[in-house]
């Protein structure tokens, strides 16, 4: 299945990518997707332990399952205000 990956702020800068399509096995979880992203973009691996995830605009847990067409966003620690 294909999902849309989005990255922001330091993750976007370090990877050089703000959006990408990624191919995952059926039933893949958020944690599996993040591992795969870490393998593909080695410049952000050290940031991933402190990176949260959102699926379709809502914060997600590592064990949440992804579905075809989902938007997975990688969220570095927020610093608004």
């Amino acid at each position: 299945m294909k999902i849309r990956l989005r990255m922001f702020a330091i993750l976007r800068e370090r990877s050089g990518i703000s959006e990408a399509e990624i191919e995952l096995a059926e039933g893949a979880t958020v944690a599996i997707a993040m591992e795969q992203v870490g393998r593909r973009f080695s410049t952000i691996v050290d940031l991933l332990p402190r990176t949260a995830a959102a699926v379709n605009l809502v914060y997600a847990k590592p064990m949440d399952r992804l579905h075809e067409g989902d938007e997975l966003a990688l969220i570095p620690p927020v610093s608004g205000g």
Binding site: A54, V58, V78, S79, G80
Partner: protein, 146 residues
């Protein structure tokens, strides 16, 4: 009771506090609490001066989160109206980066709701700031994390 008059948005242009105060006035509100987050003077460990902050947002999620925070606040306090705005792009010294204006019948709930909205926004909403230093170098501000 999430009224159509609430204004919740990311803005790429300067925030106007007077417009926000005008927007929350109703005949029923005896109190308006205003919070402005302002870009302040700062120096880094090497003595460089901070000249600007550059804000980036995951816009669709941030605005949805901000609307949800307003709905949560409305569930807890008798709010008349809310303006909740956050800047994107470059914010310079003395300019507001975030604005929270809440009107309620009485002052206690205006203060409480205003405090809740800014605290929750800072903790949860998908916005990031990058510091721009006097020598042109930049650094992402490291938030407290998940």
């Amino acid at each position: 009771m999430n009224t159509a008059e609430d204004i919740v948005a990311l803005k790429s242009i300067a925030l106007d506090v007077n417009d926000a105060i005008d927007a929350v006035g109703t005949g029923e509100s005896g109190a308006i609490a205003v919070f402005l987050g302002i870009m302040r003077r700062d120096k880094n460990s090497e003595g460089r001066e901070l000249v600007a902050l550059n804000y980036e947002a995951y816009g669709e999620m941030a605005e949805a989160q901000m609307r949800q925070l307003v709905a949560d606040a409305r569930g807890r306090w008798p709010i008349s109206r809310v303006v909740l705005l956050h800047r994107t792009g470059v914010v310079r010294l003395g300019e507001p980066s975030v604005l929270v204006v809440v009107s309620t019948p009485h002052r206690a709930e205006a203060f409480e709701a205003c405090r809740f909205l800014i605290d929750q926004l800072k903790a949860l909403v998908t916005i990031w700031k990058k510091e721009v230093w006097g020598d042109g170098s930049t650094s992402w501000v490291d938030g407290p994390g998940k």
